[in-house]
Amino acid sequence: MSISHAPPPNEIADIGGTSPSTAPPQPLPAPLLEPLPSTSTTRHRARVPRWLRRLSGPLLLLLAWQLASASGVLTADVLASPGTIARVGRDLIADGSLTSAMGVSLQRVALGVLLGAVVGTVLALLSGLFRAGEDLVDASVQMLRTVPFVGLIPLFIIWFGIGEAPKVAIITLGVTFPLYLNVYAGIRGVDAQLIEAGQSLGLSRWGLVRHVVLPGALPGAMTGLRFSLGVAWLALVFAEQVNADSGIGFLMVQARDFLRTDVIVVCLIVYAFLGLFADFVVRTLERLLLQWRPTFTGQ
């Protein structure tokens, strides 16, 4: 019925023929419509769990490696095959040398991260919250930050001897700076409008810090923690290859002397898994502590 009301287009063209603006538009061809798939019903994605999908990449890599070893492209003195490595790993666990080395290494990292986190956070709070603290702390930290911390190992050995202390100190140092930088930036990045709102609500100075500044700095702190843990493993590897008589690094140095690529790879895998575990811990923390954040979570 709407068709009968519409005047035929050419009739209008006849009336206003002199003016181009009154010419009827060419009727557009009807657009092609396409259905938008709903993500909740894309079945093949929903059925395979996420962790399994994430595992497929590494598994393919492993398969390629095994094939290369089996076909003789990759010889054992360059890199042992995954099968050999699995066997060696089992043996190392069975005789207890791997687990005890892991315990020692974990302890070093935990202690170093703890100390570094405390030092980094305290310094960041000092310079983030107080002008005087900033003047006092920030310039020195920024200066020290540019020194590659690994270069300090010889100095630390002279200062702390060859026991646990220099190793923990190196990790502490490595952890401190990324944490400091990110917590400091987080504090200084807190939205000034929210600070004003807090003040207008009658929050005290400490109330502002507790309810506005620190929660606002938490995303930065989490980023810092993640960086720190990455650096911590790196620092551990360096620290343990110098003058160590225990730990995963020591195991690796020993294996190098006997050309045991299989043991070296086992140790590397252990490092990787420890790193993954640390990342998992941070991710879990982030999920719990930052669930208020309106962020893009990926598709």
Binding site: E196, L201, H211, V212, P215
Partner: protein, 266 residues
Amino acid sequence: MATDVHRAVSPDRAGQEEPAAVRVQGLSRTFDGRRVVDGLELTVRSGEFVALLGRSGCGKSTLLKILTGLDREIEGAVLVPRRKATAFQAPRLMPWKKVWRNVLLGLPGKPERAVAERALAEVGLDHRVDAWPKTLSGGEAQRASLARALVREPDLLLLDEPFGALDALTRIKAQRLVGELWQQRGCAVLLVTHDVEEAVLLADRVLVMDDGVIAHETEIDLPRPRDIADPGFAELRTHLLDHLGVEAPTPAPAPAHAHASASASA
């Protein structure tokens, strides 16, 4: 009927002290040598609803910030009640606190959740008590911000363009809500707005700020609830727009002509 009172702007009309919620004398605020507020005088009676109009950048927010106590770099005397609350143009909810915790933030002692629930029910948000701020719509967030201000039981409520970012429908609802809450609470309200209609709809008195002072004031004594269609309403709006430097389109008998001239000048 509407009555315009064009009187000399003075804080004390009869000389006697009536109970006031705001008393400002000779207030000045300078930014980089530029006097944004320049010898401003202002009195708001207790329980009075005052709307503050003015072109953008004339210093309305600056004045409100001073009254809130956020800006202390001032000259002059400012008297405000101890119990005051502010709602800003953006809701400024702490994103890391659930809505009800936002409402209770800064209250003395350890207030119970029920206190927040009551305040949120007052603004019609009782169903979002446990929500994260990121999940609120613009109107809901603004109402939560209003609840956060009201839960302090203020003697003076300062509102800085609280409806500016809302869509037209939500804004009408929010304006009504503020009018009703004011009538229930009886607190003084200073509403900064750029919307002349909003000012005439809600306020007892409308001030126009210009050149760092209150340049003009108009009493609105239309009966409440007010109706935009009221001829007195239109008259007041035209009058205020005039003072804001906006030429109102003359209600000419031939509206088609008025439209044509307007589009020609555009």
